[in-house]
């Protein structure tokens, strides 16, 4: 959902207010940095990617449609920056999957715990991304599918896979 503040700040920024750019940056830099940090090995790499994402975002601000939230748009830009490193990750990972093979487990809700967070970093980057966007950042499947440019059903499938993997890892670590 678009907040009034962001819309107003974007309008001001487009009118040439440098302070508005700064306020948008201050508002979203922490959450983006924390998110990107989960996929980068060094803080310097994280800072480079966050900086690049903000530059792209601000220089294309006039193209922002205001249909999604500014944060979703910003995260989308950051994700696409990361995808450029992973090259064909979508082709490799988001192939058509038979959802019947992945039935959700009744204990799924209990999976979101501090213990699981420790195991999240062991997931591959794609699963980790979908899981973090859904469970930590609070995006809906629809938003994630728009952000990653994949089908909503694929997003659900990847999340189910991530949860299954986490469940198996937990069973192994806590027999």
């Amino acid at each position: 959902m678009q907040t009034f503040d962001d819309i107003k700040l974007i309008d001001l920024a487009l009118d040439g207010s440098q302070a508005a750019y700064r306020m948008l940056y201050d508002k979203h830099v922490d959450s983006l940095f924390r998110f990107v940090q989960q996929f980068r090995s060094t803080r310097s790499d994280t800072a480079d990617l966050v900086q690049q994402s903000f530059i792209k975002c601000f220089t294309k601000l006039h193209a922002f449609q205001k249909q999604s939230s500014f944060k979703t748009w910003l995260f989308g830009i950051a994700v696409r920056e990361m995808q450029m490193d992973w090259r064909t990750w979508k082709d490799r990972f988001f192939e058509e999957i038979d959802e019947d093979q992945l039935q959700p487990n009744e204990d799924e809700d209990k999976l979101v715990t501090a213990d699981i967070f420790k195991q999240v970093h062991k997931l591959d980057e794609q699963k980790k991304m979908v899981f973090l966007l859904f469970a930590v950042e609070g995006y809906t499947h629809k938003e994630i599918s728009e952000l990653l440019e994949i089908k909503e059903s694929h997003c659900r499938t990847v999340l189910t896979r991530a949860k299954n993997e986490l469940r198996n890892r937990l069973k192994e670590s806590h027999p």
Binding site: Q18, V29, Q51, V112, V136
Partner: protein, 165 residues
């Protein structure tokens, strides 16, 4: 309470935050220098279409106005134009008459042509005055008389060789 996934260490330090901002600020400022206000293509094409429609409307309006005005021109103006056209056609043949004339007749013909030119100047003067200050009965009458005088001269010019023979 929802457990927190991120640790405080995951957030950027003040120094990292400022360092990133400095680069972003530079890039944004540079972009502002190199780009004008972005062109909104949809508005641009709507503007073009509107301009074309306005152009066609103006042409149509002009054509209609011209037709209406030409149909509603006063009788005096139509007569004036007719006199003018008829006499111009007659005068157009006078150079041939002068060429064909003998040594004796030529000065007489030239004097008549000079008279016609003087009358033309007076006609032009009255017509300009009518255009600038509007028409009146006196001006129309004067103009009609000048045309009549001019016609007399042209008639004399055309019949000159017959008279002299």
């Amino acid at each position: 309470m929802k457990p927190k996934f991120y640790t405080p260490n995951d957030s950027p330090s003040e120094m990292e935050r400022e360092s990133m901002w400095n680069q972003i600020e530079l890039a944004v400022a540079e972009q502002k220098l190199h780009t004008l206000k972005p062109l909104h293509w949809r508005s641009f094409w709507f503007g073009c279409a509107a301009s074309i429609l306005i152009l066609f409307s103006i042409i149509g309006l002009y054509a209609v106005t011209k037709t209406l005005f030409s149909e509603s021109r006063p009788q005096a103006y139509i007569l004036d134009s007719t006199y003018e056209r008829a006499m111009n056609q007659l005068i157009s043949v006078t150079p041939n008459l002068v060429k064909q004339a003998g040594e004796v007749e030529r000065p007489i013909l030239e004097s008549k042509i000079k008279n016609i030119e003087d009358l033309d100047a007076m006609i032009d003067e009255i017509r300009n005055d009518m255009l600038l200050n509007g028409s009146s009965d006196i001006k129309r009458r004067q103009l009609k008389r000048l045309y009549a005088m001019k016609m007399d001269h042209v008639k004399e010019l055309l019949l000159f060789d017959e008279v002299s023979m």
